[in-house]
Amino acid sequence: MQKFSAFALAKEALSGQKGWDRQWRDAAPKPAYEAIIVGGGGHGLGTAYYLAKKHGLRNIAVLEKGWIGGGNTGRNTTIIRSNYLFDESAALYDHAVKLWEGLSADLNYNVMFSQRGVLMLSHNVHDEQVFKRHVHANRLNGVDNEWLSPEQAKSFCPPLNIGPGMRHAVTGAALQRRAGTARHDAVAWGYARAADALGVDIIQNCEVTGIDRDASGRISGVQTSRGAIATRRLGIVAAGNTSVLMAMAGQRMPLESYPLQALVSEPIKPIFPCVVMSNTIHAYISQSDKGELVIGAGTDAYISYSQRGALHISSHTLEAICELFPMFRRMRMLRNWGGIVDVTPDRSPIIARTDVPGLYVNCGWGTGGFKATPGSADLFAYTMAKDEPHRINAPFNLERFGAGRLIDEAAAAAVAH
């Protein structure tokens, strides 16, 4: 792998940028692999990288039906935070934030992780009670989170409207300063490049259409649009399509897939210093380094794989944005899209072994898994390599539903991101 450095940049600048290598090989499938990951999003590519780097597996493939990062990884609003309520979640998401802090150096790829702070707005007494409870729970777990008055929130984010005429007045905000954003594509590409350098085959345009099991029931391989491939260790990391893949192995999942939308505005000069979220009136906003306002809307009410959401959902969010930030009222939106998110009953993910020997699943990240990418990948690689969960992901198993040990972030936050 050709290292990126100030020296390499200067050298290429002087020689017409002609000396850069391909970032990763365009691999064709081999007949068999030690481990196969289905899904070339950030979580899948990261899993392959950590399997190779930390667990010494060499013969690994990532199978992606389209192009890497073309799923939710490339469609999300990139909010990263770890101020979740329950101990299990705080440990999981903070593990990820700690990995984000060193990720660009680890991958030798600038993922543009920016700890600009995430402000979560409160609009009523209920919000205030919930957020203050989060602040206290987070502090006990060593996760930074603090309570701000409306005036303090405005000085942290000057475009914010805290004026008296608002229909949903801002009554305060919770601020996590270590939270922020990262560049979504760079996360997929950085992991792909680093995994490729460790010998991982990244195989695009390769849709998995069947899962094979031997007489004992153990995983023996997959059927794909590019032929059959053998493996005894299979990791499904397919976000909204997880139920479809798990059904190929005869497994019914506690998941429902919904379209979730986002949109971006025309680019403008730097104006917006942080990330602001309002769960109550449902809007999230930040500004990308290109200058676009990146805005997240809600999910549609019904299950769908259509990768586009309804107009009334995004209009609703834009109304909230215009009320919170009146200065954006006359801006135009450039693009609007949807991704299919896999939602669990408790809005917590599943990173686990399954009842099928050799089959592992990492899913249920729903509307908020980008933030967890490095942590999820690291823990899933551990689980696949050792055939047992790491301490941090052990509670995020499939058995919790039958056992009634839900990690109910749904009830805790009402919305997740």
Binding site: V244, P254, I303, Y305, S306, P345
Partner: protein, 87 residues
């Protein structure tokens, strides 16, 4: 926004309806095992393609009904009253 054919009122805009999730999920009996309860409460087919689901015309006639919709195209293949057998 979808246009949903309520079997009682005819086609109406989606915002008049609320979603009821997968249809024909049979309630587990009181003496069901944990596995049966898990299946009833949490596991769904979440099918990609033709899907049987419940809707309620909440801001219309108020009644529940069933539908078969393609979850890739969002096209309603049919809607039918509770208790009716789909065609």
């Amino acid at each position: 926004m979808l246009l949903i054919p309520c079997p009682y009122c005819g086609e109406r805009p989606e915002i008049e309806f609320s979603y009821g999730g997968e249809a024909h999920v049979v309630r587990a009996p009181a003496n069901a095992t944990d596995a049966e309860w898990t299946a009833f409460l949490y596991q769904r087919s979440n099918a990609r393609g033709s899907y049987a689901e419940r809707w309620r015309h909440a801001h219309g006639c108020g009644r529940f009904f069933n539908a078969r919709r393609n979850t890739v195209t969002d096209f309603f293949e049919q809607t039918y009253k509770i208790g009716e057998v789909p065609a």
